[in-house]
C-alpha cells in the first residue's frame, strides 16, 4: 500500500520538476481499439538512471518503450523524451531523436549473414547520409569506433565473424555495441535477455549497466525476471494491466515487496 503511494508521490514530484529529465510521461494512456494497454501513467527518469520495468508479458512494457522512441503515439497524455515529444515532432526531428536514443531488442535485430563489425557499423547510419554496404564503405573513423565498441562488449576477436554463427549472448552484445555507435543519451531495451540463458542474461545486463555507468547514458529496460531487475537496476517500476503498481529505488525493494504488490493487485 505504501509502495503504491510512493508511486503516485514520484509522479507528483515529476510534474513539479522535470527540466533536464531524460524521460517524462504525463498521464500517458494508450489503447488499441477497445483494448486499454496503458492507463494514464506518470514517470520521470533522471539522466544516468538505470530503470527496470518489470511485469508479466502483456502488461504494457513494450508499448511504453515504443512510445518513447516514437514507434507508437499515445492516445492520451503527453510525453517528453530528451526534451522532444516523439508523438508530435516532425519526421526529421524523430530521426534526430532516434539517433540520440538507442534501442535494444529481444530479437537482437542483426543481419545474420553479415559480420559483427558490419552490424555494429549500422548503428552509425543515422549520422551518415548515403546508404552503405560492406565494411569498406564506412569512413575509417567510424570503423575505429566500431572496433573500440566491440572491444567494450568483449567481442573484438569475433569482429569478422558472421553474426548468425555467434551465440545468443554474443549477438545481444553486438546489438549493444551497435547502440554504442549512436553515442546515445538514452537506451531503451525491450526484454533484451528474454531469449538468452540465465548466465548470458546476467552477463549481458551487467555489460549494459557498466557501459551506462561509464558513459552516463540513461537505461530503461523491460524485464520479466524480477531477480535480474533487482540485481542490475537503480530503480524498479512494476507494471500490471497498463498501470504502475510499484515505483521504488532498488536498494529499498526486495523480491517479496514486488510479489506482495502483485498479490495485492490480483486481489484488487
Amino acid at each position: 500500500m505504501t509502495l503504491i503511494q510512493g508511486a503516485t508521490g514520484m509522479a507528483a514530484t515529476g510534474k513539479a520538476d522535470d527540466t533536464g529529465a531524460s524521460v517524462v510521461l504525463r498521464e500517458v494512456g494508450m489503447r488499441f481499439g477497445e483494448n486499454v494497454v496503458l492507463d494514464r501513467v506518470n514517470l520521470t527518469v533522471t539522466p544516468g538512471q538505470f530503470v527496470a520495468l518489470v511485469g508479466p508479458s502483456g502488461a504494457g512494457k513494450s508499448t511504453l518503450l515504443r512510445l518513447m522512441n516514437g514507434s507508437h503515439r499515445p492516445t492520451a497524455g503527453s510525453l517528453s523524451v530528451l526534451g522532444v515529444n516523439p508523438a508530435t515532432c516532425s519526421r526529421p526531428e524523430l530521426r534526430r531523436l532516434r539517433r540520440r536514443t538507442g534501442f535494444v531488442f529481444q530479437q537482437f535485430g542483426l543481419v545474420g549473414r553479415l559480420s559483427a563489425m558490419e552490424n555494429v557499423l549500422m548503428g552509425a547510419l543515422g549520422s551518415l547520409r548515403m546508404p552503405c554496404y560492406g565494411i569498406a564503405t564506412y569512413p575509417r573513423p567510424l570503423r575505429e569506433r566500431a572496433l573500440a565498441n566491440l572491444e567494450r562488449v568483449g567481442l573484438v576477436d569475433q569482429r569478422h565473424q558472421r553474426c548468425d554463427t555467434l551465440s545468443g549472448g554474443q549477438q545481444q552484445r553486438v546489438a549493444i555495441a551497435r547502440t554504442l555507435m549512436q553515442e546515445a543519451e538514452l537506451v531503451l531495451a525491450d526484454e533484451p535477455v528474454a531469449s538468452l540463458d540465465p548466465n548470458a542474461s546476467i552477463s549481458v545486463l551487467q555489460t549494459l549497466r557498466k557501459l551506462s555507468a561509464e558513459d552516463g547514458f540513461t537505461v530503461i529496460c523491460s524485464l520479466h525476471q524480477v531477480e535480474l531487475a533487482l540485481e542490475v537496476s537503480d530503480r524498479v517500476v512494476a507494471v500490471r494491466d497498463g498501470a504502475f503498481v510499484l515505483d521504488a529505488s532498488t536498494s529499498r525493494t526486495s523480491q517479496e515487496d514486488i510479489r506482495a504488490v502483485y498479490a495485492q493487485a490480483k486481489q484488487g
Binding site: 522512441n69 514507434s71 530521426r95 534526430r96 531523436l97 532516434r98 539517433r99 536514443t101 538507442g102 534501442f103 531488442f105 530479437q107 537482437f108 535485430g109 542483426l110 543481419v111 545474420g112 549473414r113 553479415l114 559480420s115 563489425m117 549500422m122 548503428g123 552509425a124 547510419l125 543515422g126 551518415l128 547520409r129 548515403m130 546508404p131 552503405c132 554496404y133 560492406g134 565494411i135 569498406a136 575509417r140 570503423r143 575505429e144 566500431a146 572496433l147 573484438v156 569482429r159 569478422h160 565473424q161 558472421r162 548468425d164 554463427t165 546489438a175 551497435r178 547502440t179 555507435m181 549512436q182
Partner: protein, 545 residues
C-alpha cells in the same frame, strides 16, 4: 461414459477422408474445365486419329528433307550464337537493376506514397503478361533491327518476372533487423540497403541465374522477328526453304542450350558446396589495421564473383549497343509508336485470336499433363524399376525441353501448313516435356517410407501408387499443372508470329502494317486475359493446396 468416448474413433474409418476438406469447386471444376476445353479443341481443330496420322506423315516427309543437316558457314553461326548470349545477359542485367527499386516499391513493407506502390505493382503485372517476343516486335520498330531490340525485349519482360520474385523475397524477410536499424535513425534508403538488400542477396542471385537460363532460351528465338541472335539465321534458312541448314541451326541452338544447362548445373553444385563452407567462415581476413577488413578466400570469392558479373554485364551492354540508334531517331520512333497506340482499337478479330490462343494453350496443357504424368511415372526410378526406359525417357525430355516451342511451331507450320493445329502440336510437345520434368522432380521427393510399409503389407504396384504415392503427390501435381498452363498461355500468344495460330498472327500483322491502335488493343486484351487466368490459378492453388 468411456464407451461413448471410444465410439467416434471407431466410426471414423467409415467416413471417407476424415478431416479433409470436401471436394470444392476448384478440385472438380478446374479439371472439368480443362477437359471441356480439350474436347472442344479436338472438335474445333479437327484433331482426329486419321488427321494426326496424316500429320505425322507430313512431318516425316519434312524431316526427310532436313537430313543430313548442314551448318553452312559455321563461323557466322557461332558469332550469332554468341550474340544470343550477350542479348540474354544484357537483358537480364538491365532487368535486375530495374527490378530492385521496383520490387522494393511493390513489396508490402514499402512505406512511401501509395501511388508509387500501385504503379510498381501495375508495371510488374503488365510486363509479366507480355511475352518477350511481343516486346521484340514493337522494339524493332523503335530501336531498329538487331540485338539492342532483343536485349531490351528480354529486359522488359524479365522486369515483371524478376520484380515479382524479388518482392516476394523482400516480403518474407523477418522484420526485426529493419526495426532495429530504423531505431538508430537511418533513412529508408540506408535501411533498405543495410538490412533488406544484404539479407536478400543470396536469393536474388539465384533468381537472376534462374532467369538468365530462361532468357537464353528466349533470346535464341528473338531473331525470328529481327531482334538479333541465332534465330535470325533460322528464319532465313526456313524462309529460303533450306531445311537442311534449318536443322543444322536448330541443332546448334539445342547443343548451346544443353551445354549452358550443364554449366549452370555444375556452377550450382559448386555454389551450394561453397555455401556450406561459407556459413561457418570468417567473412574477412585480418586487415592491416584491426579496424580495416582484410582479404581471405571468402571475401575474394564474394568480391571476385561480383566484379566478374559486372564485367560480363558491361561487355554484354557494349555488344548490344555496338550500333546504337541516334537519340533523335529513337525519340521520333518512340513518339510515333506510342501515339499510334491511342486510342486502342478492339475488334472481333482480336477476341477470336485470343480465344484461339487460350483454347490452344489449355488443350495443350491437358495433353501435356496427361502424357507428362505417364512419362514421369515411367521415368521415376523407385516406381518403375527398368533403368533403360527411364534413362531414355529422361534423355528425350531433356532434348525436347532444349528446343524452344516456337521452333517446333515453325517446323509444324512448314510440314502441316498454317493454322492452330501446328501451334497446338508444338505447345503439346513442350507442355509434355515441361510437365514431365516438374512431375519427375516432385515424384522423386515423395517420402518412400509409406511406400515400403504398403509393400510390406503385400500391396501391388498399382495399389502402392494409388494409396502411397498419389496422395503425397497431388498438391504439387495441381500446382505444377497450373504453372504449365500459365506458361503455355504466354507461349500460345506468340506462336502466331510464325503462323501457328492464335493472337500472335494478328499482332505481328498490326505492327507490320503500322496499325498500332490495333496492337494496343491486342496488348490490353492479352494482359487482361493473362491476369484473369492467373487469378483463377492462384485461387485454385489456394483452394487445393
Amino acid at each position: 461414459m468411456p464407451q461413448t468416448l471410444e465410439r467416434p474413433p471407431a466410426t471414423q474409418p467409415t467416413r471417407r477422408a476424415p478431416g479433409r476438406p470436401r471436394p470444392s469447386v476448384a478440385t472438380i471444376g478446374i479439371p472439368l474445365a480443362y477437359v471441356a476445353v480439350t474436347v472442344f479443341a479436338l472438335w474445333w481443330l479437327d484433331i482426329r486419329p486419321a488427321a494426326l496420322l496424316a500429320g505425322f506423315e507430313d512431318i516425316a516427309r519434312l524431316v526427310q528433307r532436313m537430313v543430313p543437316p548442314t551448318t553452312g558457314d559455321p563461323g557466322s553461326l557461332v558469332s550469332l550464337a554468341i550474340e544470343t548470349l550477350w542479348i540474354a545477359i544484357a537483358g537480364t542485367g538491365i532487368a535486375t537493376i530495374l527490378s530492385v527499386p521496383l520490387a522494393a516499391a511493390a513489396s508490402r513493407h514499402f512505406a512511401g506514397p501509395r501511388v508509387i506502390g500501385w504503379l510498381a505493382r501495375g508495371t510488374i503485372v503488365v510486363t509479366r503478361a507480355i511475352p518477350s517476343l511481343v516486346f521484340a516486335l514493337i522494339l524493332v520498330r523503335i530501336v531498329g533491327l538487331g540485338p539492342l531490340a532483343g536485349g531490351l525485349a528480354i529486359a522488359f519482360h524479365s522486369v515483371g518476372m524478376i520484380g515479382k520474385m524479388f518482392a516476394d523475397v523482400f516480403e518474407e524477410l523477418e522484420p526485426s533487423p529493419r526495426e532495429a536499424v530504423r531505431a538508430v535513425g537511418a533513412t529508408r534508403a540506408q535501411n533498405f540497403v543495410a538490412t533488406t538488400l544484404s539479407r536478400a542477396l543470396p536469393s536474388l542471385t539465384s533468381i537472376v541465374l534462374y532467369r538468365l537460363d530462361i532468357n537464353i532460351r528466349a533470346s535464341a528465338v528473338l531473331g525470328l522477328v529481327g531482334a538479333g541472335g541465332i534465330g535470325l539465321a533460322l528464319q532465313t534458312a526456313i524462309g529460303s526453304l533450306d531445311y537442311r541448314r534449318a536443322l543444322g541451326i536448330i541443332l546448334v541452338i539445342v547443343i548451346m542450350l544443353l551445354a549452358l544447362e550443364l554449366v549452370a548445373y555444375l556452377a550450382q553444385r559448386a555454389l551450394s558446396e561453397h555455401a556450406e563452407e561459407h556459413s561457418a567462415a570468417q567473412l574477412y581476413g585480418e586487415g592491416r589495421a584491426a579496424a580495416s577488413p582484410g582479404w581471405n578466400r571468402s571475401r575474394i570469392l564474394r568480391v571476385g564473383s561480383g566484379l566478374a558479373a559486372l564485367v560480363v554485364f558491361a561487355v554484354s551492354l557494349a555488344q548490344v549497343l555496338a550500333d546504337p540508334p541516334s537519340f533523335g531517331r529513337l525519340w521520333a520512333n518512340t513518339a510515333r509508336v506510342l501515339s499510334g497506340f491511342f486510342p486502342p482499337v478492339f475488334s472481333p478479330d482480336i477476341a477470336y485470336g485470343i480465344f484461339e490462343s487460350v483454347v490452344m494453350a489449355l488443350s495443350a496443357t491437358t495433353f501435356g499433363v496427361v502424357f507428362g504424368l505417364v512419362i514421369a511415372v515411367l521415368s521415376t526410378r523407385h516406381l518403375v524399376r527398368f533403368e533403360p526406359l527411364s534413362l531414355a525417357l529422361r534423355g528425350l525430355m531433356v532434348l525436347l525441353r532444349g528446343v524452344p516451342d516456337i521452333i517446333f511451331a515453325l517446323l509444324f507450320v512448314a510440314a502441316l501448313g498454317l493454322g492452330p493445329f501446328a501451334g497446338f502440336l508444338a505447345l503439346a510437345i513442350s507442355c509434355t516435356a515441361l510437365a514431365a520434368k516438374f512431375f519427375t522432380d516432385s515424384l522423386v521427393r515423395v517420402d518412400p517410407a509409406p511406400l515400403r510399409a504398403l509393400e510390406a503389407t503385400g500391396a501391388g504396384r498399382m495399389q502402392v501408387f494409388v494409396s502411397g504415392v498419389w496422395p503425397q503427390f497431388v498438391p504439387s501435381f495441381i500446382g505444377n499443372s497450373l504453372f504449365t498452363s500459365d506458361l503455355a498461355l504466354r507461349e500460345s500468344a506468340v506462336l502466331g508470329i510464325v503462323g501457328a495460330g492464335g493472337i500472335g498472327f494478328l499482332l505481328e500483322e498490326s505492327i507490320a502494317t503500322l496499325h498500332y491502335d490495333t496492337t494496343a488493343g491486342i496488348l490490353i486484351a492479352l494482359v487482361v486475359v493473362v491476369v484473369a487466368l492467373e487469378a483463377v490459378a492462384r485461387w485454385a492453388r489456394r483452394k487445393v493446396i
